[in-house]
Symmetry: C2
Subunit: 277 residues, 2 copies
């Protein structure tokens, strides 16, 4: 079963040429989970051949514009292409009001939109899908913000398969936008793949604290403490035309760090429990 | 003085790979007039080096999502980059409510947004700038929709310049979304450049009538009757991967027809009145 993250939008609040606002797609088997929906998300999904029809669930970290301004366009286009099945949106804050406004200003869509309001002060099981559980956990930002942990379920092994060595369930953690805080790494412990914001390099650590963001070093420390296999950095400040410094500073702490780019795919491979290093 | 149209978004309601929702920039001298603001407009402006700082006026044809869903992102980013001067938005329908929602959900910006509600049943002088007049005129669509005519002012010639041959004032007409109707060509008579929607080829003429859109032939007839120099087609249905048929059908009626593409610039040259053919 495929388990992979495609980074669609890697900019922070101000997009740049080539860097779009936050949007990500997690593919688990045939399902696509859209995580944040910045402006342009529907165009990026189309560009990278991620069909809208496989999206039944959208997870929104917080209601800052650069994480949600693509929602209205996507909801409209889903209607236009004849969507019939319900769409679930998981989000904090006043997401109902945002969707109500959409209905009021632009007309009702013909499919059902089910709002799941996210609210928790520590990790909470949000939804249990066939092969996957999704947890929300609070982040530290200027408005109410949540990260999401996507965890494969343990397979139930049929007793007639002898010597079967099970696969390790895979997990992906999404952490943006946030200042660093002590509990985070523990909450996502064992995640194979972590997407963590890295708005700034270490030279702007002070600014990262006043704006409630992270440096790439902060992100790398989370990856180390959580015991991750791979770290993907994103949500880059528009001031960095070249991201080498952010990457290098993170790799000095956690070697398996990569920079997100629009359309880049990060696979989490299946490994058997006896192959875990 | 530069007088040119840059087409930024050429899709109709459903964007495709490479075709964005409606957005256009008219450059007149140093000013940029943004006409419609579909999703992705701010990224396209940045990509094609059209600075936000030169936009003081945005003209919206109508409040269908594919013409306005880029507005929230652009308004936010303008604030983020420190805009101080007032921004004027000309639009029909309940644009106030859309902007109020933006304030309520995403916080007030630090510059002034001045709403100019467009409402007229025949051409109306909307605004007189230093070198330019802008007229609104009603179109025929499923919701209240206006086209815009941008007309250079006649220069006042100083009497001490002997044998001065004045330049013909230039004009650009923006016509989308609309079904064809008899008065349109007369209202934009003499426009050098016309942007006209061509959602469909002639095979879907019946559909164009039920959806209140135009075929490329309809657009070409307007250009002929208005005596235009050049016609730019846009707002293409996503069903046309190749637009040759739309172009050919229009050129059979009006030879100087061109297909809009993202980032394409159409100059309206300055010509002296004695050079008019």
């Amino acid at each position: 079963m495929d388990f992979s993250l495609t980074t669609l939008g890697t900019a922070s609040a101000r997009p740049t040429t080539g860097r779009y606002p936050s949007a990500h797609s997690l593919t688990v088997g045939g399902r696509l989970f859209l995580i944040d929906c910045g402006e342009g998300a529907q165009m990026l999904l189309a560009k990278y051949k991620l069909p809208f029809s496989r999206i039944d669930n959208i997870f929104i970290s917080h209601l800052h514009g650069d994480h949600v301004f693509g929602l209205y366009g996507l909801l409209s286009t889903m209607d236009m292409v004849g969507r019939a099945s319900a769409l679930h949106i998981y989000a904090p804050g006043d997401i109902e009001s945002m969707v109500d406004t959409f209905y009021r200003e632009f007309g009702k869509v013909r499919y059902e939109i089910v709002i799941h309001k996210v609210k928790c002060s520590e990790p909470l099981l949000l939804e249990s899908f066939k092969n996957l559980e999704v947890y929300a956990f609070p982040l530290r930002h200027r408005v109410e913000t949540y990260g999401y942990l996507f965890k494969e379920k343990e397979r139930v092994i049929k007793p007639n398969i002898e010597n079967y060595i099970p696969f390790k369930p895979r997990a992906f953690a999404y952490c943006t936008d946030t200042a660093p805080f002590p509990q985070l790494a523990g909450w996502i412990k064992g995640a194979d793949l972590i997407y963590h914001e890295a708005t700034y390099a270490s030279d702007l650590k002070a600014l990262s604290r006043t704006t409630a963001h992270s440096t790439s070093e902060d992100a790398a420390r989370v990856a180390v403490e959580a015991g991750a296999q791979k770290l993907v950095l994103g949500h880059f400040s528009s001031r960095y035309k070249n991201l080498d410094l952010l990457l290098q500073e993170a790799r000095n702490i956690f070697a398996e760090t990569y920079l997100a780019e629009e359309g880049m795919k990060f696979d989490v491979p299946k490994i058997r429990v006896n192959q875990i290093k």
